[in-house]
């Protein structure tokens, strides 16, 4: 089974079942909202894809001269252009491209051996997912924990410290933080690998199925590979996660502070409920609602940050792939990758909005 399909199954099946559950059990307005959002995703993706198509054809350069450089005779280059359909009228190219998008046939890359783009994405997309999912978890965990801690210790030194941390960490360029972590923990202390996804020797023992190495190693019960993959995830995940944790920290803190001032919280305290229970069971739960919403927005930032993180840590994900293909003017690969990004962000955003309505019964669409 194709790794891309497997990756979608792993995340998509539970999500789909969850969506169906919500659809069945939800209110009529929520059902209408879900249908509308799903329906709107299609023209959104098509518009975005068309824009990308247009921009790529407007900017100078083409995949043939980019990849051949000074090598290759003019006849060879012209033949290549014909083979790639670059000499066809622009409307023909556009309609062909739209047809590919609609049929989910991403076509072949125009450079580097003209591999099917779906095969290339099958390698890169799982690698990016393997990076951004734990990074999101790290961001949430650090942000929510520290944010709550800061809110509880409001106006004390620790509160100021965490707020300063959030501003500093969010302002840091992600590549700079990555390089710093590599230098300190990778080179000086030797506690973590400086790049890559797994030890090269252990990699030869790992059977790849989904191309998410932690998952594949669990599937094949290859514990050496699992720990190596996990070990290699530490620094890039921390890099991405720390950067994002800043905004989650601040948002959590503000919301917990506001929630702490609500009457029902005062009532809970008056009833003698322990402070920890008041904070983490009552205040935090309600304060999390806007934080959940933010996750949807941050996914797009995560993907953007992943480009730089993948470059710094030599992580063969979609971000690096996209940058490389833009430089090569590989129209097919770029268009397909951006369509995939767009669909991914749209689906996450939809999931977050639905989750939001479930968390807050007051929300009506």
């Amino acid at each position: 089974m194709h790794p891309l399909l497997l990756t979608f199954m792993i995340f998509g099946i539970p999500a789909l079942i969850g969506l169906l559950y919500v659809f069945v059990r939800g209110t009529p307005s929520l059902r209408r909202y879900i249908v509308t959002r799903v329906a709107l995703t299609i023209p959104m993706v098509l518009i975005l894809a068309s824009l990308v198509f247009l921009v790529l054809r407007i900017i100078p350069g083409d995949p043939v001269t980019s990849s051949l450089g000074p090598k290759g005779s003019p006849e060879v280059k012209e033949q290549m252009r014909a083979n790639l359909g670059l000499n066809d009228p622009i409307i023909v190219q556009y309609l062909s491209f739209l047809g590919d998008v609609v049929t989910l046939d991403f076509g072949d890359a125009m450079t580097s051996g003209q591999r099917p783009v779906v095969d290339e994405l099958g390698e890169k997309f799982p690698a990016t997912i393997e990076l951004i999912v734990p990074a999101a978890l790290v961001a949430l965990t650090i942000g929510v924990l520290f944010g709550t801690f800061a809110a509880v210790r409001r106006k004390r030194a620790s509160d100021y410290g965490f707020r300063l941390f959030s501003v500093v960490i969010y302002s840091m360029p992600v590549f700079w933080l990555g390089l710093l972590l590599i230098l300190v923990f990778g080179v000086w202390l030797g506690w973590a690998p400086t790049g890559g996804r797994i030890d090269a020797v252990i990699n030869t023992t790992l059977e790849r199925t989904t191309n998410m190495l932690t998952v594949d190693s669990l599937i094949s019960l290859n514990w050496a590979a699992f720990w190596s993959a996990l070990h290699h995830l530490v620094l890039p995940t921390l890099t991405l996660g720390l950067i994002l944790s800043g905004v989650f920290l601040r948002l959590t803190r503000i919301n917990v502070v506001e929630t702490n001032e609500e009457d029902y919280i005062a009532a809970a305290r008056a009833r003698g409920i322990k402070e920890r229970t008041v904070t983490y069971k009552h205040a935090l739960k309600n304060a999390m609602i806007p934080v959940v919403t933010l996750i949807g927005l941050q996914v797009a930032i995560l993907l953007g940050g992943a480009v730089l993180t993948e470059t710094v840590f030599n992580w063969p994900g979609m971000g690096r792939y996209l940058v490389e293909r833009i430089g090569l003017r590989d129209f097919t690969a770029v268009q397909s990758t951006i369509v995939m990004f767009a669909v991914f962000v749209a689906l996450i955003s939809l999931a977050v909005d639905i989750l939001y309505s479930l968390l807050d019964p007051r929300v009506r669409y």
Binding site: M1, G18, M80, G113, V201, S220, Y321, G327
Partner: protein
């Protein structure tokens, strides 16, 4: 909420189990490399059974693994199409050509899969050579003359590659290949090509396994075949993941003289040289090969690694457009040639890690001279000023010169080197330089088109290690933007240009290496007089490794792990202690 969470968890577990069950049914019939990893288990069940239970420690029990880092990437593993340096490197380790370069040498051809060197016919239009008997590809497929002839006739001479350049090393030079008998091969040449044996040592002529690279009616390019990939060379590719790793293991059927010294070679691919540096520092790789900048090399040298310079094959030069003002003025282009101080560039930008280049043909190649130094002083500012003044350019009325370059394509040092060159040109007092940075995709088309730029920077790596490949491309048919000859007709724009084109063609057709040497020396003098291109520096390659890695003293360039001027890295000569 708890029940929902339970349901979700169970569903996720189900998805994982489903994925695990599907892996045993995985269909590996695609011709891309994406599923390459899974084919190892289908094809070599014994290996797979061991693979799932071994740990890194078990793998290393009695086994040595050499891990090589590189910033190169695989573009094609089909010898009929492959062109990139790394593609050829892999092909030359997995396959063994009829002729090959001796490891560590820059000019010593030896017989590889052939019994001995072949022979040209009296008219020079055919070349006959005999294979060693009993050779097998790694999967047991026999290597025969008829199979090889079919490979060349049906693939190299016919198929249009995605790069289109691999076939360019076959189609212009051959008309056909015949199998005279089971082992004897006859190449029918399109002309008398004096460098044909050098060409034969190139990757397009390496025997390909017909079971993976079929000829005949099934002939098609297979740029990313499923692993394992077997050739007739010392290694086979056990698995590869594009952009991540390639794993090579000793070919059990190899019969040649290059016996692997380690049990496994892993190539690790890096996006940036900094990542490769860090991997070397933390011990993740044993060798760093292509391409490291001067600051990283210096850093690694300080850290105690062996940093060795390989003669290299890449050059940097200015394309001088001979049909566009002001570079169409001989006084201008000669003045520019007189102002370039290559040592200054090497010292200030590259910390001495590049070699000044005084000829289009680098030192070490047949007939190489240093003619630009002889002719132009390099630098000779008074001579340059006199030339500029002769064309009316003085301090009061300076020459306005645009110099174009691609800031990102050749690495981070390009911008610095252009700045230094700009200062050198302006040191004449009669030139004002405007540097024009252009992104590669747009830049290269503009340079080769010969319209937009007067002076532009380019790099070149040989297709075959012969002076012809450093001269012909810049003279024939527009010369990649020099416009010294007409792009359509190939006629020289002047008598001198035509004489140069004729001289180069004469040298290419002559089979006598001594005569070729003389002809190339003359051609370089004519080339320098016209300043067809302005050679700047020879970008040597660098290899960095720890003390636990060594080359073989049976071959040359021991400190460079037996990598000679042909830039061929034979993994078989390296050992790891």
């Amino acid at each position: 909420m708890k029940r929902s969470l339970t349901v979700f968890t169970l569903l996720l577990a189900f998805a994982l189990v489903a994925a695990a069950c599907s892996s045993s049914d995985e269909d590996a019939t695609t011709t891309t490399g994406a599923a390459a990893s899974s084919t190892t288990q289908a094809d070599t069940p014994t290996t797979a059974a061991a693979a799932t239970t071994t740990t890194a420690a078990d793998t290393s029990s009695g086994e040595t693994t050499l891990i090589i880092g590189t910033t190169d990437a695989i573009s094609s593993l089909d010898g009929s199409d492959a062109y990139a340096v790394h593609d050829w490197e892999l092909l030359k380790n997995v396959g063994e050509g009829l002729l090959r370069w001796e490891p560590g040498s820059g000019d010593k051809l030896v017989a590889g899969s052939a019994e001995d060197f072949g022979a040209f016919s009296d008219d020079g239009l055919s070349y006959t050579i005999k294979l060693k008997s009993g050779q097998l590809f790694g999967d047991g497929t026999p290597l025969t003359a008829s199979g090889y002839a079919a490979q060349i006739n049906d693939r190299l001479l016919v198929l249009e590659g995605s790069g289109g350049v691999g076939p360019a090393l076959g189609q212009p030079y051959l008309t056909s290949v015949e199998a005279v008998d089971d082992l004897t091969i006859k190449f029918n040449l399109s002309d008398t090509w004096g460098f044909f044996e050098q060409l034969l040592a190139g990757a397009p002529y390496i025997p390909l396994n017909p079971t993976q690279f079929p000829a005949g009616a099934d002939a098609a390019l297979v740029e990313f075949p499923e692993a394992p990939i077997y050739g007739n060379g010392p290694w086979y590719i056990d698995s590869y993941f594009l952009g991540e790793t390639t794993v090579l293991k000793p070919n059990p059927k190899y019969q040649g003289s290059l016996t692997p010294q380690v049990d496994q070679v892993i190539i690790r691919y890096f996006d940036k040289p900094e990542g490769m540096r860090d991997a070397l520092l933390d011990g993740s790789i044993d060798v760093a090969w292509r391409i490291l900048g001067p600051d990283i090399l210096a850093e690694l040298q300080d850290a105690g690694f062996n940093v060795e310079t390989v003669a290299g094959g890449a050059i940097r030069y200015f394309i001088v457009n001979h049909t566009r003002a002001p570079s169409d003025d001989p006084n201008v282009y000669k003045a520019i040639a007189s102002l370039i101080d290559r040592d200054d560039i090497s010292d200030r930008v590259f910390a001495g890690f590049v070699e000044p280049l005084y000829s289009p043909v680098p030192v070490g190649f047949l007939g190489a001279t240093e003619v630009f130094d002889d002719l132009y002083g390099s630098p000779d500012i008074p001579a340059a000023q006199a030339l500029l003044e002769a064309s009316g350019y003085t301090a009061d009325s300076p020459l306005q010169l645009e110099v174009a370059y691609p800031p990102e394509h050749y690495g981070g040092t390009v911008a610095d080197s252009m700045q230094v060159i700009s200062e050198q040109l302006e040191a004449s007092g009669a030139i004002e330089v405007t540097l024009v940075a252009q992104e590669w995709s747009e830049y290269i088309g503009a340079v080769i088109g010969g319209v937009d730029y007067s002076v532009s920077l380019l790099g070149w790596f040989y297709d075959y290690p012969d002076p012809d490949n450093y001269l012909t491309p810049f003279v024939a048919n527009g010369g990649l933007g020099t416009m010294i000859t007409d792009p359509d007709t190939g006629a020289g724009i002047s008598a001198a240009a035509q004489a140069l084109a004729d001289k180069i063609a004469e040298a290419a057709a002559n089979g006598d290496q001594a005569i070729r040497k003389t002809l190339y020396e003359e051609a370089q003098a004519m080339y320098a007089e016209l300043v067809v291109t302005l050679p700047l520096w020879f970008e040597a390659e660098h290899i960095v490794y720890g003390d636990n890695v060594a080359g073989s003293d049976a071959f040359g360039s021991l400190e460079q792990l037996n990598i000679g001027a042909t830039i061929e890295y034979n993994y078989a000569t390296n050992s790891k202690g």
